[in-house]
């Protein structure tokens, strides 16, 4: 029975991803931390799938597709931002200031 340990690992990885998002200022690294969180969720899905049926794995499949699309668009956005501001440091990007 690996469900319990897998969920613990999933939780730790997710918290690490959040920590990374909170700590880092480089947009690309933050992005990678988001991917880390997605993977933590995937791990939980797979762990549950072992017990409750294959639907969890199929959901992971969709998560991966979404992650791929997100990576493509997200990185394109970062490229576009970099082209305008010559930085990917999020502290210097505050055009949405109210």
């Amino acid at each position: 029975m690996l469900l319990g340990p897998a969920l613990t690992v999933s939780g730790v990885l997710f918290a690490l991803g959040v920590l990374g998002v909170l700590l880092r200022r480089n947009a690309i690294v933050i992005f990678m931390c988001v991917e880390l969180m997605l993977n933590a969720a995937n791990l939980a899905f797979v762990a549950f799938a072992q017990q409750l049926g294959v639907a969890g794995q199929i959901f992971v499949f969709f998560v991966m597709a979404v992650a791929a699309a997100e990576a493509a668009v997200g990185l394109a956005i970062i490229l576009a931002v970099y082209r305008h501001r010559h930085t990917v440091d999020l502290q210097n990007i505050n055009l949405l200031k109210g």
Partner: protein
């Protein structure tokens, strides 16, 4: 079960539909081709003539059937709401038959007259569109088979009255007169509405065919409910038919074109109140208080308006107050329970008052053209600027004399019979209820004044020296045949109209009374018949009074001494009081208009609207939104890091809620 009516009756809807079609066509012409006067005339007059023909056919059919109950034609369901079932239905009975003949007949003559009178007006098409629309609504009013349908017509004629009084709306005084008429009528309409709601509350229906047969079972005689209903209905009548205390709009309504005054403000619309009381006779019969109120207000109005008419100089205003006064007679009649007499006077009055108005229109038309030709800016309606017009307008003068004799009550003209019948009925009622002796006395006094002021009008207008002006005098001419034609027709009706209902006293058959019997019998409260001797005394006294009025006017008034309007000295004493119309307008202004204006300006506008609505609600909302937005904008730092922190805090909160 009433057998299926023959063809012309089934086509009853055509009667109101024709003027409506005329309105649509003329309205379209007014917008698209306002100069197509020939098409407008053919449409406008044609619609009325055809409507009169259709109405006549329907009435002929009705006369052959002579049913004891109204013929009701339901066309479609209009307001099927729970217990309230209102159909768009028309009904024809002996009473509405008289009314549609008067409306379409007199209406057609006045339309013809208008062709000449309004010929040079730029709003010609618009005028005929309104006039057709008015006739449509008036026919809806008299043909409606239920209170709501009647109310549609009631409101519709009010609207057309407003539109036509303010027809020359570019001058403020005309627009104001229109507004005054409309607003005063609203007060009356409120009464009508309340009465309708009360009727529905207590009988569960608004159809005439249900309410009236039920009335005697649903209401106790003299009970508070039926008294309230009838008094509220009568409030509606005082608005529409210009009785005390709501008569004030009618004299101002003379700002409209003169044929409009003849059609709407003399012959038809203002008689709607009389029609309403006659229609609801079954209700009024149950309330002695309301009947006495109707008769009393009618008698008082007849006398009061007649006094004002004594000192007016505007020819149309004299006629306006005369109309108010004559309407008072009609209410005296229907309030007495003599519905046939009231409707009879309504009919004859439609003839001779329309004739008087159209005659005055002919005079004004001539005066206006004369002043227009010389570019003088004098009042074309002031009798002090007239005088001696009989020399220039013999037809008009002769016909107006006929109408004057009729309204004064000189036999054997129409007005004599109808007025005499009302006074006779009132006197007879006095034997049961002495108050009616007072009403009769007031009516008789009003008859004296009527004879006096009408003779005064004729003397100052058509006799004595001419005061129009030397250059203008050459421009005075008789009106064209298209205008004198209707005058002649109305003159004939004025002479012969009395034959409709010659009382048995003079060997007549009282035909109108018998004709109306199916409608009025239900409501009729028989008065003790006066002996023939008493009746003869009454008749002779009425004629004597009229004769005294006329002779007195001839003896007392000196047309030779009159000065033109711009040179006339101010009035003094009682004359000034009458000339100023007993200062009633000023009184209403002080006790109603000014307080309402003050309330509107100082409280509703400056406090409620400016402070409460604008200040607190509108600006307050804006300020609150702005403050909230300012707080929100502080949160929008543009720093993604801050957003992430807030986001995670939110996630924690949600998770916390789930975990717990």
């Amino acid at each position: 079960m009433i057998p299926l009516p023959p063809l012309p009756l089934a086509l009853l809807w055509v009667v109101p539909a024709l003027p409506l079609a005329g309105f649509v066509v003329n309205g379209a012409l007014a917008l698209a081709a306002p100069r197509a006067k020939r098409a407008v005339s053919i449409t406008g007059v044609g619609a009325l003539v055809l409507a009169f023909a259709a109405a006549a056919l329907a009435v002929v059919e009705l006369a052959q059937l002579h049913p004891s109950a109204p013929l009701v034609f339901r066309y479609w369901e209009w307001l099927p709401v729970g217990d309230l079932q209102v159909a768009l239905a028309l009904q024809l009975d002996q009473l509405s038959a008289v009314m549609i003949l008067v409306v379409t007949g007199v209406g057609a003559l006045i339309h013809v007259f208008s062709v000449g009178y309004m010929h040079d007006d730029p709003g010609y098409a618009r005028y005929f569109a309104y006039l057709n629309l008015f006739v449509f609504f008036m026919l809806t009013l008299v043909l409606g088979a239920s209170f709501p349908v009647m109310f549609v017509g009631w409101e519709g004629v009010g609207l057309c009255s407003y539109l036509l009084i303010g027809f020359w709306f570019t001058e403020k005084i005309n627009a104001d007169a229109g507004k005054k008429a409309f607003i005063v009528n609203r007060i009356g309409d409120f009464g009508f509405l309340v009465a309708m709601l009360l009727i529905f509350r207590h009988t569960g229906s608004l159809d005439f065919g249900v309410v009236f047969p039920k009335a005697s079972a649903a209401f106790a005689v003299g009970g508070p409910v039926v008294t309230a209903i009838t008094l509220f209905l009568f409030l509606g009548c005082t608005g529409k038919s210009a009785q005390i205390p709501l008569y004030i709009w009618l004299p101002d309504a003379m700002q409209g074109p003169t044929p409009v005054s003849a059609l709407i403000h003399a012959a038809t619309m203002v008689t709607a109140g009389v029609y309403l009381v006659a229609r609801c006779g079954a209700l009024f019969a149950l309330s002695p208080v309301a009947s006495a109120t109707v008769a009393g207000v009618g008698a008082l109005t007849a006398l009061f308006a007649a006094t004002i008419a004594l000192k007016q100089w505007d020819i149309k205003r004299v006629l306006a107050y005369s109309t108010v006064s004559q309407l008072g007679y009609m209410f005296l009649g229907v309030g007495t329970g003599a519905y046939a007499a009231g409707i009879f006077h309504l009919t004859t009055h439609a003839f001779f008052k329309a004739l008087l108005f159209l005659g005055s229109g002919s005079v004004i038309h001539a005066m206006h053209r004369a002043y227009h030709a010389t570019h003088a800016h004098e009042d074309a309606q002031d009798m002090r600027n007239m005088g001696g017009l009989a020399r220039y307008m013999p037809w008009t003068a002769a016909l107006m004399w006929i109408a004057t004799l009729a309204i004064a009550g000189i036999p054997p003209l129409a007005g004599f019979f109808s007025k005499d019948e009302i006074l006779g009925a009132a006197f007879a009622r006095g034997a049961v209820r002495p108050a009616w002796y007072v009403f009769w006395g007031m009516g008789l006094a009003a008859a004296l004044l009527t004879a006096f002021y009408m003779t005064r009008l004729m003397l100052y207008t058509f006799h004595g020296p001419n005061r129009t002006g030397d250059r203008e005098r050459e421009q005075l001419h008789e009106a064209p045949p298209v205008m004198t034609g209707p005058l002649v027709a109305l003159g004939a009706l004025t002479v012969l109209g009395g034959a409709l209902n010659i009382p048995p006293l003079f060997g007549g058959g009282a035909r109108l009374e018998h004709w109306l019997a199916p409608v009025t019998d239900a409501a009729f409260t028989p008065a003790p018949d006066a002996s023939p001797a008493t009746e003869w005394v009454l008749v002779v006294s009425a004629v004597l009074v009229a004769a005294v009025g006329m002779v007195g006017a001839f003896r007392l008034l000196k047309p030779e001494a009159l000065a033109p309007a711009r040179l006339a000295p101010p009035e003094r004493g009682l004359g000034r009081l009458l000339w100023k119309k007993w200062y009633v307008d000023e009184l209403y202004d002080a006790i109603v208009v000014r307080p309402v204006l003050w309330l509107s300006r100082e409280v509703l506008w400056k406090i409620v609207d400016m402070r409460l609505v604008d200040g607190l609600l509108v600006n307050g909302t804006a300020a609150a939104s702005r403050a909230l937005g300012w707080v929100g904008s502080r949160l929008q730092t543009g720093e993604v890091g801050v957003y992430v922190v807030l986001f995670v805090v939110g996630v924690l909160a949600v998770l916390g809620a789930v975990v717990r």
